[in-house]
Amino acid sequence: MTHPALTERPEKRTRAGAGPRPGLPRAADRRRRRLRGLATIALFLLPALVLYGLLVLAPIAIAAYTSLFRWNGLGGWPEDFIGFDNFTRLFASDVFHGDLRNGLIIVALSLGIQLPLALGLALLLNQRMRGRAVYRLLFFAPYVLSEVITGVLFSLILSPEAGLANQILRAVGLEELERAWLADPSTVLPALFLVMTWKYFGFYMILFLAGRQGIPRELGEAAAIDGATAWKQFRYVTLPLLGPTVRIAAFLSVIGTIQLFDLVWVLTGGGPDHASETMAVTMFQFGFKRTQIGYASAISVVMFILSMIFALAYLRFVMRRDTRGAVTTMGDHR
């Protein structure tokens, strides 16, 4: 930094501090300054903006556009404009109602069982114990596997005749609990949820573990000295301080469920008889198997809007406190 700059700044401050002294040259100077600042920002943002526009915004816009047509995806742009017919057809479709129902069930199970389980394990693994690192690694390992490998693995385990699950039940004399798991419409969703939990609880566990370690030990100790039981320590000290982590975990869980595809596709293909189908699976079916790209686009638009509404509402009403400090405004800090 040069000396003129150093001397200039305090000088400017005192001037500004001396109160408003309107004058054309000053205003023009300020405007030029601001323009230059904006130009610099634009220059640095441009590459990212171009990529974002081409790879994210443009496809969204194109999907929204094609969702208004009957189109098989071949030969140039769609031409057969049908307005919102794809959407009326979608909202009347039993399969789509099933998708929404399945999504809600999975969200409820995730929030009600999967996250508490991960939280419990995280707290447990935060205790001093022998082999703690090994347990952490072990519980996190399933998350590292790809969805497809997980799917293939569990379709073998849950196979009705030769599958490991039923063989174990047979070996311990619990034959009456044997099921066709993935092949039975009444057990497929719980079975799917079981696989999802196996796959993802490690991820949430690590999240909670990280959050838990950010809580100073002194707080717990202070509560203990005041006579708080372990439960009360958890309920009134640990859990409230884990709030931001819990909220972001729930957020990720719901968004992930709206987009759930690969695991379902490999495990069941959405079957039997649509019993485990999700919106993304239905979209794939119509887009790539039936070549009804217009209709598939309508499904993707609905998924997008649902995700967006949820994300905005969640940020606005649930995570308001968590994000408040994170938002920066250029004006205040320059």
Binding site: L74, G75, E161, A183, D184, V188, G271, P272, D273, Q285
Partner: protein, 428 residues
Amino acid sequence: MSLRRQGVAILAASVLLLGGCGSGSDNSPDAGASAGGGKVTIDWWHIGTTEPNKTIYEGWVKAYQAKNPNVTIKVTALENDAFKSKMATVTTAASAPDIFTTWGGGVLKQQLDAGIVKDLGDAKAIADFTPAALAAYQIDGKTYGVPIDVGMVGFWYNKKLFEKAGITEPPATWSAFLETVRKLKAAGVTPIALAGKEKWPGHYYWTYLAMRVGGLDLLKQAATTHDFSGPDFVAAGQRLKELVDLQPFQKGFLNAGYSTPDGQAASVGGGKAAMELMGQWAPAVQKDAGGGIGEDLGFFPFPAVDGGKGAATEALGGGNGFAVSADAPAEAVDFLKFITQVDNQKQFVESGAGLPAVNGAEEAIKDANLKNVSGTLAGATGFQLYLDQAYPPAVGQEINDSVAGLIAGSKTPEQVTAAITETAKAEG
């Protein structure tokens, strides 16, 4: 579904591969259709990217060029899906390669409407095709493509398990078939293996029953009227429901795959289930997925339905073929004539690439069951192309999906026909 079948066919072909292909065939000097001595280049697009087709096609090109020095054949071998998307592009641009792979049916019709395929005139002048093989490439009585191979769907059954249940001969009627299923169940045998997860194997039942109940014209008419709600289609669903109500399928069939280690083919190939309804590639996949049952494997055509309009000699199937573009040189047709000669077809069949599409080549088939299939096809009185090729993809998928619902017990026969009709009408 067709993708799946394609994969299966390729798999079957490679498993069947018996050995290297024979030496270049010495064909008789034909009454050349070549247009004088001028240099001609023919573009040939095919999907023979795997053995044995690859070697055989290369050999044909070399042999033909040696005999016709003025002709150069430029080959573009594409993988199945790449070929389909590339063909879709050239169809909209109305510029096709001189010779290209086709499976006939709805897609060939689209290409004809786009003005890119040539009327090949009298098919008999090209080769002595079996009627069943040629049917898929004929539209309104005119021939727009020639078959290179052909196959069909039928019941593959385990003779030992039939014996065990006291069944002496394969059923010829639907009621006898249901009786067979009952007997097998009573003997403690799983009567039928079905890949419920993949849906397309299940739709064969419905399609065949519609053919047997209403005859081939029923399916042909539905292609133009888009109406699948007639009483014969409903009756087909009701007949299928009779079968489903007997609970003939293996445990957990609703999530079973076709060629997976615990799937449909493995159940039959491992001797656990007595039957499956599948195409000519079934023995190869059974062997691959479940070990195979060798001599115990038998084949019988889909039984007739009592009082139905269709005969048991009408077959559901399909195969690979070639079409010629509207502006192709005369040599293109001459090349098709060359590759469908009996000698070349024998070489093709011997390699295990497929079942013959011309009369006289069937003696090259070594496997007894495939001979049986080929004989059934040669004697077929009618031929229905796979519905996903005969109809637009959306309609084919809806048939698969709705029939899967019927088999799972969530859809009535009437709901099946209503859903298919709705999709067919929407596709127009």
